[in-house]
Symmetry: C2
Subunit: 353 residues, 2 copies
């Protein structure tokens, strides 16, 4: 089969790889219908995080179940499924508490499972799914229905970006009537706008400088746009809000600057939901949190949980998170998919195997 | 009048100071009935934070209103009042949102007010109270009633430690049925035990090594005690909880070690309420928060808000937070009050002017 492999900085190739097979009774094999490139894939692509040896890449996919291990009863062969970007057991304390992203045996695409077997990347034609019992999420529609209704991008968004935007808003405790600032105008930030609206935010300020992304943010529910950064950002927010700051902020980037901006634009007692993968591990200024009574929560989204909550909104057409995809390419052109996102020619690229 | 002044490390003296007078129409003058020494007073006492020049000290008091500025209508002369350890306007966005500790013009005892006037310390015979309209909190009883019912220590505890323990539990989102670990067995940690019980925690693990404090923790509602620290602490918690970790932790110390311990004893998706004054500014490990989905909130408690919520529980006798005071001294012996706490001969010292 064909699958994407990262070899090093700016070197992602579509290569022939062995077809996946069941390795344990807890596995499934899924034929990929669509995958995509994530903002976090750009860290190794840009060499910010090093690639020590070539490995398959990609962690977002929708597809059709082809094979099931004997212990997997949560789906049927032929089911159209979404996979969360992290795989989980569903049984440990963190899973039971609603945080499968912090599962005791959390397993990632392109990595190794708890039994030591390699796990395929999602940017490929097929993927072996460990921990399939809890990880497979059938949407209740056939592949034909999904394609006919044009739902592929919207369902694929639930695998990561939309669930991650939701986690930002939930972690920031967004509630009816809140003023919410969204830091980051990538696919996750745009999804955060959708999530803040779903949770009842009265006013949503998209912090963005890019006109095309601003337009989509407004379509998703942003009521205001602020282009200012650094010390000018809180001043711009105050100018918008009669001297006030936001009740909550969604940090959807993952740099020290973006976190500082999120902290700066909320009032005393404000809440920050952070979901940007911390790049280089910026630490949080605990004295600022202390004196300004800020609460910071978030992290890796438990997509398995949020996709279940969000599916009805996608099926009803109430939300269209797949609008973040602005380019579709065949898997064979995976190198161009990465380059387009790296050079900001695309917000998010959908890949068809 | 007599008042405590800190001159440097291990040098706190009871000295004659000028009697306070009203300086603005927003002030009050309060005669102190009781004050006390705070764990955070020990940072300058120990020289961990330097004392650049001598200044009055102490930030917890109950007393009787002696004089009121023309603009202060929230209390009457003769009222028995509690003062929160930070003074606030009640009008800015943070105050209105329920976070007066993060008030735009937050003012501290022993410091300077927004008009540049010096503010007395609470460890004295009288105190000028700036921002009196919002800061004075009359309890609705006369001084004679308060003394006759033995309520002085319990009401004084609301000025800081009990409100701070409550802020830890509220910030950790403690709810019915939670397992809560309390890191720190000082007066704030012990108050955190009371707060966790008030909020419905099913199991409260006091992390303590001191037998007298352990006994009080159990009297306040702790169901378990864990003496282990460092990497042994989560193992001890798992041994208690059938392999599980706590849902929430209250960080009531303020060191890097205590924060690390609080982070280590909660499950994935766990919540940490932190109220220990960060000593030396340990930063929070954002990657650990990210991968384990931890939420950290808290900071300086909005005592003005919590004292109102907690007063009925004190008046009904449901909680007795004043039991954290295990030594009472006259103001003239303030040096011994600090020494007794520094040397851990006392958990918390009540001072009578």
């Amino acid at each position: 089969m064909l699958a994407a492999v990262i070899h090093g900085a700016r070197d992602v190739r579509a290569e022939e790889r062995p077809d996946p097979v069941l390795r344990t009774p807890h596995d499934a094999v899924v034929r990929v219908v669509a995958a995509c490139v994530c903002g976090s894939d750009l860290w190794p692509y840009r060499g910010v995080t090093p690639t020590r040896e070539p490995h398959p890449i990609g962690h977002e996919l929708v597809g059709v179940v082809e094979e099931l291990g004997a212990e997997v009863t949560s789906a049927q062969v032929g089911d159209f499924v979404i996979l969360p970007f992290s795989l989980s057991c569903g049984r440990c304390q963190s899973c039971r508490a609603g945080f499968p992203a912090a599962c005791d045996v959390v397993t990632f695409f392109g990595s190794t499972d708890r039994d030591g077997h390699p796990v395929d990347g999602a940017q490929g034609q097929k993927v072996r799914i460990p921990l399939a019992q809890h990880s497979l999420f059938p949407v209740g529609l056939s592949e034909q229905e999904v394609e006919a209704r044009g739902l592929v991008p919207h369902l694929l968004a639930l695998a990561d970006v939309m669930s991650t935007g939701m986690h930002a808003a939930v972690s920031a405790g967004v509630r009816e009537g809140d003023v919410v600032a969204v830091v980051g105008d990538g696919a996750v930030g745009l999804s955060g706008v959708i999530a803040a609206k779903l949770l009842g935010a009265a006013r949503i300020v998209a912090m963005s400088r890019h006109q095309d992304r601003t337009a989509l943010a407004r379509a998703f529910g942003a009521t205001d746009v602020v282009a200012e950064r650094g010390p000018d950002a809180p001043a711009a927010i105050r100018a918008l809000l009669d001297g006030n700051l936001a009740d909550a902020a969604l940090e959807c980037v993952g740099t020290q600057e973006s976190m500082a901006q999120a902290l700066a634009v909320v009032r005393g007692g404000g809440r920050i939901g952070f979901v940007g993968v911390p790049n280089g591990g910026p630490e949080l200024p605990v004295r600022e949190l202390f004196s300004r009574n800020l609460t910071v929560g978030g992290g890796m989204a438990s997509a398995r949980r949020y996709m279940a909550e969000l599916l009805p909104h996608v099926l009803s057409g109430a939300i269209e998170p797949g609008r973040v995809f602005d380019l579709t390419l065949p898997l064979a052109e995976i190198a161009e998919a990465y380059a387009a996102m790296d050079e900001r020619r695309a917000t998010k690229v959908l890949v068809r195997p």
